[in-house]
């Protein structure tokens, strides 16, 4: 198992590194990051919050629906490990959520009721800036081992670098602008998924696949395709037709 895991870790970093080198789509990259975390670390799921220019956090990616809800819950109730992690810029580790009810009277019971028993939050850092937080949710009581924590932080660090494309960006304003672009991309992507889901009678995950395949097959970035669908410069029907022809050519 260890050998397999090492190979998977290596593959994750290769994917992240190659997307850095080749131009990449931020939304897709962060989606992959949370999926990678859930698969590689000893946690059930992962979610990622990013801050906008005013320090308000927004959900950017989540490996599961439950995690997404928990991240949103923290934002709405203004309490929880990811918020603390972002505010302090340091990792937050809670091995047993049952013992965290005083700390987070609303979050802890909500997380427990969704079947989670432990939580860890790692800061997304770029030099002195904290960009957001990566939440790791486990279904078993227990702290993450040091290797997993280090690997999670390494993945978060690589993603932070990827997020701020201009490596020389020392200016907080430029960093903020690029984060805002990432957040806006997320909105557009979800809208485009909705358009395709409605028109093609698809589930949201199918709509995402259709969109991503269209982008890959045409050598376009996912965000570009999503923007074109929302702006109607690319007819949604064309994207759906492509998916259909792709499917039939495989069959």
């Amino acid at each position: 198992m260890t050998g397999t895991r090492e190979a998977e870790v290596a593959r994750s970093f290769v994917t992240l590194a190659s997307s850095l080198a080749n131009g990449y789509d931020v939304v897709e990259l962060l989606d992959e990051l949370t999926t990678d975390c859930a698969r590689l670390l000893d946690v059930a799921s992962a979610g990622l919050l990013l801050a906008d220019a005013r320090g308000v956090l927004h959900i950017m990616a989540a490996s599961s629906e439950q995690t997404r809800q928990l991240e949103v819950f923290q934002l709405q109730r203004d309490e929880g490990p990811c918020l603390e992690c972002y505010r302090d810029g340091t990792a937050v580790s809670v091995a047993n959520l049952d013992e965290a009810t005083d700390r987070w009277p609303q979050f802890a019971p909500a997380a427990r009721s969704m079947g989670f028993a432990s939580v860890h939050a790692l800061p997304m850092r770029l030099r002195d800036n904290v960009l957001g937080a990566l939440g790791l949710f486990g279904t078993e009581v227990g702290a993450l081992n040091d290797d997993d924590l280090a690997l999670g932080q390494a993945l978060a660090d690589v993603a932070s670098v990827a997020l701020v494309q201009d490596k020389a960006a020392a200016d907080k304003a430029i960093v903020n602008e690029q984060l805002q672009t990432a957040l806006t991309s997320r909105v557009t992507l979800e809208q485009a998924k909705g358009v395709l889901a409605q028109l093609g009678a698809l589930e949201m995950t199918q709509a995402f696949t259709v969109l991503r395949n269209y982008a890959r097959d045409h050598n376009l970035r996912l965000t570009e395709v999503a923007q074109a669908v929302v702006a109607r410069s690319l007819p949604a029907q064309q994207v759906l037709d492509h998916a259909r022809s792709r499917g039939s050519s495989r069959a």
């Binding site: 909105v187 809208q191 909705g194 395709l196 889901a197 409605q198």
Partner: protein, 254 residues
């Protein structure tokens, strides 16, 4: 708590308890004057396809000055919406300032020497602007600027509801803290449902969001609950409920 956190809280609380979208917009503008070291504030709606104009103000002068931009067809608020960026005029009397000759003259005559227009946007679409007026020339302090941007964010709520003209201002829904309502609009399911409504009704993202929120109000749901119902296809988008312009009798045709 930092000064900005306190500002955020105070601005958010300013709109609660208002009995209409118009009253909420007024209260937000009054809060700007109390909290941001400005002498007047106004909110205007500038969205293609909707009625344009001034919808909230801290007082009569601010309302009149803001409305002048629509009379003259020029002004920082219109530029701010068009360019999706703040338009900051620290010294309107500066002779090199020639962008809005008619508007500038009228404003200076009223004793206002600085104007700051901040765009109000919903999701990715600009829908209006918040105008801040100062008697004295000079830039906004960093704190006032940050507070102004927060107020511009909050201003989206009453503008959104004004776009759905005729929808009753739901006092239960509106009693929530303004930031919570904004948070309920900034959710993945809301974006997805917006996309579905766009495709079903062939309308823009902003109009789709207006319909979603209007529908949520009409059925006593939060925007997020209505969005889930759309995404899970428990709410049909084929009904006249969705087709009709919000607040107007059902037209029954596309």
């Amino acid at each position: 708590m930092s000064g900005l956190d306190q500002l955020r809280r105070d601005l958010g609380a300013a709109m609660s308890g208002a009995d209409s979208a118009l009253a909420a917009a007024d209260r937000l503008c009054q809060a700007c004057v109390e909290l941001l070291e400005v002498d007047g504030a106004a909110v205007s709606l500038v969205h293609a396809g909707s009625s344009q104009g001034t919808f909230g103000s801290s007082g009569e002068l601010s309302r009149r000055l803001d409305a002048l931009q629509f009379t003259f067809g020029e002004g920082p608020c219109l530029d701010s919406v068009r360019d999706r960026t703040p338009v900051l005029v620290a010294d309107l009397a500066d002779p090199t300032e020639q962008r809005w000759p008619a508007f500038r003259g009228a404003v200076l005559e009223s004793g206002i020497n600085a104007v700051f227009a901040l765009p109000v946007a919903i999701e990715t679409s600009p829908i209006g602007a918040l105008d801040l007026f100062c008697n004295r020339s000079g830039a906004l302090t960093a704190q006032s600027m940050s507070g102004g941007l927060l107020a511009a964010e909050l201003a989206a709520l009453p503008l959104l509801d004004l776009m759905a003209a005729g929808v009753a201002w739901d006092s239960a829904g509106q009693s929530d803290h303004g930031w919570q309502q904004l948070a309920s609009l900034a959710r993945v399911e809301v974006y997805q449902a917006t996309g579905m409504i766009m495709a079903a009704l062939d309308i823009s993202p902003t109009d789709a969001l207006v319909r979603l929120r209007a529908h949520a109000f009409a059925y006593g749901m939060t925007a997020s609950e209505a969005a889930w119902a759309v995404v899970e296809r428990r709410l049909s988008l084929d009904s006249d409920d969705w087709r009709s312009e919000p607040g107007q009798p059902s037209a029954g045709s596309r």
